[in-house]
Amino acid sequence: MSAPSTAITLANLATHYPALQIVLPLVTAPLVVLLRGTRLVWLIAFAVTLACLGIAVDLYAQVLQQGEISYAMGGWAPPVGIEYRVDRFNGLMLILICAIAAVVLPFARTSVEKEVADNRLSLFWAAWLLCFTGLLGIVITGDAFNVFVFLEVSSLSTYALIACARDRRALTSAFQYLIMGTIGATFILIGIGLLYMLTGTLNMADLAERLPAVTQARTLNAAFGFIVVGCSLKLALFPLHLWMPNAYAFAPSAVTAFIAATATKVSIYVMLRFFYTVFGAEFSFGSMPLGEVLMTLSIIAMFSGSLVAIYERNVKRMLAYSSVAQIGYITLGISLATTSGLAAGMLHLINHAMIKAGLFMAMGAVVYRLGSCRLDQLSGLGKQMPWTMAAFVAGGLSLIGVPLTTGFVSKWHLASAGFGAGLPLVPVAILASSLLAVIYVWKVIETAYLRAPLENATPVKEAPISLLIPMWIMVAANFGFGIQGTVIWQAVQQAAVQLTGGV
């Protein structure tokens, strides 16, 4: 058996886009280490990210025109070879990751100069690109074991990125995240191993075909349990979220903005992929009590995350706890086990990525000027850094879910999906948890706008324009997609229909 010819020419370049999506950033990462000049390094990283964004958009356009894309890696046909598969759901995810990376990178360039030691900068960008590669790889691959490999590529580089910060607590948070993350990934590995034991295949589409024959096997239940717990650790579902607040709080601000918007979302993607494509909705929600468990945990997450956020004195940690709550919203949508619930969950997944990227960038700008983001030090900052704080307010409004913002659109759809599933308590829980969000966002606004600056504080200037532009692009996206709420909604609805098999 030999691999068929896979010569890449300029003419058939577009057919190799699924591979290039991963290979480009992967190859650039070691290149970046060899090139020591920081300016050039950043330019290359940015160029690669833009190229990846272009590829992702083109792939999605191809999917819309011709349906799913299946790409045989190295010319080895699936299920023996590794398959890369793009459909309406992961096509959207690819665009999301690339777009967030493309917006955060210019921000990161200025921001990390202050937060990361100079001699580590090229290594920092290499780790960044590897993280980016891993995230894209998890999303695009159609092979269960490949998911594990890319998961570790992205996780290991994330631990390194977090440890790049100057604060020594970043080291302990990175270590804690490493332990928890590795346990999570190993759980997923055990699950995949058990699936392989049952079926003798690792290709997701192939698994989906063979699993219905063995639904009675206890091994399958064990595999399902391991994968659910592993993914829950990675996506920081309550009560497995303990690694997240410190990791987000002490990582360099740009890293926080990037991973908060992408890493947990990609883990949710992995979970959905296993629920729907591999195990099938009937097994996941029918044979297993997944819906009930997930819904309970989601609702606890929505309230506990928000409540802790209210009492948090460090704004980055506050936003991290708010992420715990917001992830609860996403999994709540998923736990409804209806197509509209799934679509609403996906919508909030995308919208929350935009919201948190914007908010963490605003806090990154504050850290850039103040060197800290403790709540009491924000006093009077509304006058000193008007654009930054205005961006925070705008992002905060979207987080709460005020009309005309993306946050409103996704919460609206979540609530109506709850009604649709005959669970009127769901909208009530969403509303109540949003009110808690009002409290913690208001605390920041009150400190920044209504309190006088601290007496011993040195006055600060507005953040540099290179930080403001990416931040405001995110804010604009929040309002743009909030007003044009149907654009993403239609896309995720189609994705949800495709994922559930048109039910």
Binding site: F145, F148, V149, E152, L156, Y159, A160, A163, R168, R169, L171, T172, A174, F175, L178, I179, T182, I183, T186, L189, I190, G193, Y196, M197
Partner: protein, 119 residues
């Protein structure tokens, strides 16, 4: 009960629990890493066990068509997982070295005390 036949699986579970317990119960960061390694090793054995076929020989192609081979795929997967495990251990140890430089200790409780003192 043919539990002796499943000897390797019992060992997997034992090692897994040992590793897991060490990660949770030990405060020393290096011991946590050792626990993590034992935990991962148990998964390696799980994968290797499933590749074994009774009477199977090493999967190197022979002329004799009646030869039974062990399944090489789990071996390959675990080779990858071992590499990942080595990378994780290396990164974890590097972090511990830097934690030791920054805090002067690698005991979790002491680090916690130092951090809450500095807040």
């Amino acid at each position: 009960m043919n539990w002796i036949e499943h000897y390797n699986y019992w060992m997997v579970i034992l090692l897994m629990m040992l590793g897991f317990y060490t990660i949770i119960a030990r405060g020393n960061l290096v011991k946590k890493i050792i626990g993590l390694n034992i935990f991962q090793t148990s998964v390696f054995i799980l994968f290797i066990s499933m590749g074994k076929i009774p009477g199977g020989v090493a999967p190197i192609l022979r002329d004799d068509p009646t030869t039974v081979y062990s399944n090489p795929l789990p071996h390959v997967l675990i080779l990858t997982a071992i590499v990942v495990g080595v990378a994780t251990t290396a990164l974890a140890l590097a972090l511990v070295v830097r934690i030791n430089e920054a805090y002067g200790t690698i005991e979790e409780d002491d680090i916690h005390d130092l951090d809450t003192g500095s807040l």
